[in-house]
């Protein structure tokens, strides 16, 4: 169906070709997954199928690409529109009309199909994708998952033989992602559509693929094959494969179901070992152990007890040294948590302390007058936010202690971003209070606030204005009133090997995130907020991010991240807060909240349930410790 014959693509002004000598054949009716690290040319390869590369993007394409026998050299994208349907990374950029039904019809109108045919196909597609309820809705009012389904539907109505998708599930919550994948499955099985898709979140998609095309490195030839075979040696792989490698299973299982069947022996070996808190191995959490077993809501009390040592760390690290910041040092490596389990026996359940906690939560903390008051980096009490008639948040109580990492999870539109925005003072609470570092964020001068709290937004590019990394750093230093060079030192630490003169636009997604993170950290805020940080990151970039964030948490930074990425939450978070419809529906230690949830459980937890293991690194550490 799709044939690449010795294809190379070179963009104008690029030193080396983005794709080199690609030979590839995709047979009809297969679901082919394109994987590889960022920057190996996955999007370029997808664009070459629809003819947008090179007709639209410019550049030179050598070799031959044929789709259903049509050569993209002689056929423009619009002449391939009846054969290839393309959905890009951002569905919003895909829409031409303003209501769902018109959008579904647009492609067919362009092809000039008869009105009767159009009507029938629109109805069929509405049913196929479960969009009937939405048919008259303006597209602007749809949620992320709904938009993605409409985008897929809008290219399906022309009955293309090939569907090309670029990261269809990256922006979606786990449930919405499964919805989209179920649709793709159905297309492949029932209609015989050929699907070619690129995706970073392999744990979501790899088990559905008939075949995997791996682009291992820029300029390297593609490795094509059966998913299990390719995954066994792939540099990018989902946790289930990593676990399989660790356990020595062969062939590699790709789905949780297959892995569970094999996991009996592993479960037995792990049965005697005590589960460590998330992020253990680096012993980054002073609270994890205490929190396990606490009822949700009382976690905050426990953290209050144990937070004192971390405060001192914050104080120490708040003074920028001559050498700038040093992440990942401080308390590190094998050192035990400063307050052992003995410190916090059953005492933290005493009613007096609970009362104290309640008092502290309801009165705004006077700045640093009592040590108790400064324990928590941020609190919200009965926080409510309304926008027009929509209640984005309702009665949200949240307390974040220094050194603690909290993951906010929930569907698209559950109020995660609103909560983060309330914490940085972008959103004024309708009711209730928000206190960050003893201040009310929305009434605090921004220049003052960036020393208390920093937010890395969903699109890190929004934070970057200047045209070189050096200028960006200088601006960040003067914004935060930090010593010149502070930000640059952070950049060097987080992002080694980036030249001063690089334009932020030329950085990769992961590098841009690191730069934005460095800028935010220049003010050394005790509270760091991240909104959907792993969107568009490959596994390597993600593990670097995890390392950086773990180091920051060890230095006493409190971190709150809103994410759909269950693997990231399992890796990092001490505590998970699940929001639904603007309300907190679960708040507790990661292991407890996540293991019991079908949607938010990471793969390792699903495989090894009922044992509370969350990540491969935990299992690895446990196996090393065990005989």
């Amino acid at each position: 169906m799709i044939r690449f014959e010795n294809v190379s693509v070179t963009y104008e002004g690029a030193a080396a070709p983005t794709l080199e000598n690609i030979d590839l054949t995709v047979p009809e009716g297969e679901l082919v997954l394109l994987v590889g690290p960022s920057g190996v040319g996955k999007s370029t390869l997808l664009g070459a199928v629809s003819g947008l590369v090179p007709h639209f993007t410019g550049g030179t394409l050598r070799g031959r690409v044929t789709v259903d026998g049509r050569d993209t050299r002689t056929h423009k994208p619009r002449e391939l529109a009846d054969v290839v349907g393309t959905v890009g990374q951002d569905p919003l950029a895909h829409f031409v009309t303003d209501t769902v039904e018109d959008e579904l019809a647009y492609g067919m109108e362009s092809l000039g199909l008869a009105p009767g045919v159009m009507r029938r196909r629109v109805e069929e597609t509405l049913d196929l994708l479960g969009l009937v309820e939405l048919r008259d809705r303006p597209i602007a009012t749809l949620s992320g998952g709904q938009r993605q389904r409409v985008a897929i539907g809008s290219v399906l109505t022309t009955h293309p033989k090939v569907l090309v998708l670029d990261e269809p599930t990256s922006a979606l919550d786990p449930a919405a992602a499964e919805e989209v994948l179920a649709v793709l499955q159905r297309l492949v099985h029932d209609l015989g559509t050929t699907v070619l898709m690129a995706e970073h979140r392999l744990e979501r998609v790899v088990q559905y693929a008939d075949r995997v095309v791996l682009l291992p490195a820029p300029g390297a030839g593609p490795v094509v094959g059966d998913p299990a075979t390719v995954m066994a040696d792939s540099p990018v792989r989902p946790p289930v494969v990593t676990l399989a490698r660790l356990a020595g299973w062969s062939p590699v299982p790709l789905s949780v179901r297959d892995a569970r069947r094999r996991a009996g022996a592993l479960r037995d070996r792990l049965a005697g070992v005590v589960a460590l808190p998330p992020g253990a191995g680096a012993s980054s959490s002073p609270y994890g152990l205490a929190a396990v077993g606490d009822a949700p809501g009382e976690g905050a009390v426990a953290q209050r007890d144990s937070a004192r040592p971390a405060i001192e760390d914050t104080a120490r690290s708040a003074v920028p040294g001559p050498g700038g910041a040093r992440f990942g040092k401080g308390r590190g490596g094998e050192q035990a948590p400063p307050s052992g389990p003995a410190d916090r026996g059953p005492t933290h359940h005493r009613p007096t302390q609970r009362l104290l906690a309640r008092l502290l939560r309801t009165t705004p903390a006077p700045a640093a007058s009592t040590p108790e008051a400064t324990h928590l980096v941020a609190t919200t009490t009965a926080l409510a936010v309304r926008r027009a008639r929509v209640e984005a948040l309702r009665r949200v109580d949240l307390a974040v202690a220094p050194g603690e990492t909290v993951a906010l999870m929930g569907r698209n539109g559950a109020g995660k971003s609103t909560l983060l925005n309330a914490l940085v003072g972008m959103v004024e609470p309708t009711a209730g209070t928000v206190t960050v570092g003893g201040r009310t964020p929305h009434r605090t001068d921004p220049r003052e606030l960036i020393r208390q709290v920093g937010l890395v937004p969903q699109e890190p590019r929004d934070l970057l204005y200047a045209d070189t990394v050096a200028a960006e750093c200088a601006a960040a230093d003067s914004d935060a009133g930090a010593a010149p060079g502070t930000c640059r030192a952070l950049v060097t630490e987080l992002l080694p090997g980036v030249a001063d003169a690089t334009h932020p636009r030329d950085l990769s997604e992961g590098q841009r995130l690191a730069l934005a993170l460095a800028i935010v950290l220049t003010g050394r805020p005790p509270l760091l907020l991240l909104d959907e940080p792993t969107r568009g990151l490959d596994y390597a970039a993600k593990s670097r991010l995890v390392a950086v964030l773990k180091g920051l948490a060890e230095d006493g930074h409190a971190i709150v991240l809103a994410t759909h990425d269950v693997e990231l939450a399992a890796e990092l978070a001490h505590r998970v807060v699940i929001l639904a419809g603007g309300e907190v529906v679960a708040d507790g230690p990661t292991a407890e909240v996540v293991v019991s949830s079908p949607a938010f459980a990471p793969q390792v937890a699903k495989i090894l349930a009922p044992q509370p293991w969350l990540t491969v690194s935990q299992v690895e550490a446990a196996l090393e410790a065990a005989p």
């Binding site: 629809s50 947008l52 007709h55 639209f56 423009k76 994208p77 619009r78 391939l80 529109a81 393309t86 890009g88 950029a93 895909h94 829409f95 031409v96 303003d98 209501t99 018109d102 019809a105 109108e109 362009s110 092809l111 008869a114 009105p115 159009m118 048919r135 809705r137 303006p138 009012t141 949620s143 992320g144 998952g145 709904q146 809008s154 290219v155 022309t158 979606l172 449930a175 027009a388 008639r389 929509v390 569907r411 698209n412 559950a414 940085v424 003072g425 972008m426 921004p446 220049r447 003052e448 920093g454 937010l455 937004p457 929004d462 934070l463 204005y465 935060a480 800028i519 935010v520 419809g581």
Partner: protein, 424 residues
Amino acid sequence: METRSPGQRPGVPHGAVGHRAHRQAARPVPHGAAAPYRPGHGTHPLLDALRATRAPVASRSNALHAGAWWLWALGLAVAASRTTNPLLLGLLVGVAGYVVAARRTDAPWARSYGAFVRLGLLVIGVRVVFSVALGSPIAGRHVLFTLPEVPMPGWADGVRIGGRVFAEQIVFALYDGAKLAALLICVGAANALANPARLLKSLPGALYEAGVAVVVAMTFAPNMVADVLRLRTARRLRGRPTGGVRAVAQIGLPVLEGALERSVAVAASMDARGYGRTAQVPPAVRHTTTALTLGGLLGVCAGSYGLLAAEGARYGVPLLVAGLVAAAGGLWLGSRRSVRSRYRPDRWGVRSWLVAGSGAAVAALMIRAATVPGSEALHPGVVPLTAPELPLWPALSVLIGLLPAFVAPVPAGAVPAGAKESTR
């Protein structure tokens, strides 16, 4: 239409399901009938017959033609332009507002009505302020207050800044401003009630592609506003003030970059979805199309010049007609090159006729009222100051404009605007 029996609830189709009826009850429906409605329990054949003619719940199939809404609104606007009587103008605005309240949807374009109302108030305010500051030719007798007058040099004779302010001149400015505001609000009503993209579907095929480009370009503005808001937020995150000239300058470039990137992405998507596919037509047809269109436009230009100029009026009309015919022929031939078909275009049905007709009737009756004797009530005098009266017949004719609130399909259940729902 005005006669409704008790127990009959407007807007609910015959046999509507119970929960739908409940939802409808919460909407601002005209005459909220209090008696419970039991579907299928009509007691009188006349009642059943009436029920059958009631406005159905709006769906794609019975949607009013967007052009009908525009004609209705333009009719009201023409009527507003014929009077300065504040009572009549208020009645017109009330009629437009009532129809909008009863029949607008929750779509983003429907929210523009409020903006137009605010714009209208602003126009009145500006008109009054100018009248106060610059004076007015109205020679009044009731001095309200006196502003310090700026002495003007001799060459600026006739220009006055400050000075005495008369009650008459302010009232005159108010009337005048109210007329403009009413015009604006009528246009706003059309904007809120008709989907601009649907109007496009009625364009001839040869113009459709250009129309799509215009609509996509129009989505630019809201997107850029969203970008500006996002970047202002980001500035705050970096601890910089969000106001001031420097902030605007620093945000400006990224906003433009973002807009450019998005338009390139939309263009790529449109291309990949077959935008601009053309059918093969013989070169002869292509050349004829070009010749007809260009010749027609030239004819139209020359013809209009002939009509307006003092001499040559004889050739004006025939030239204009010939030009129009040629241009229409060019467009028709040009449509053959476009392969595109139309998905469910709006049909011009009875309800569309009624809506458009009610607007036209209001305009026609008001124009007639302005010409017959007794039309001075449409322009209440300001010297001497008199309280405006409500002339009976013009007022009744304005009320015809309420017809769409009863015949146009009722928008279906409200979806909270901007609500982000769960994906389930």
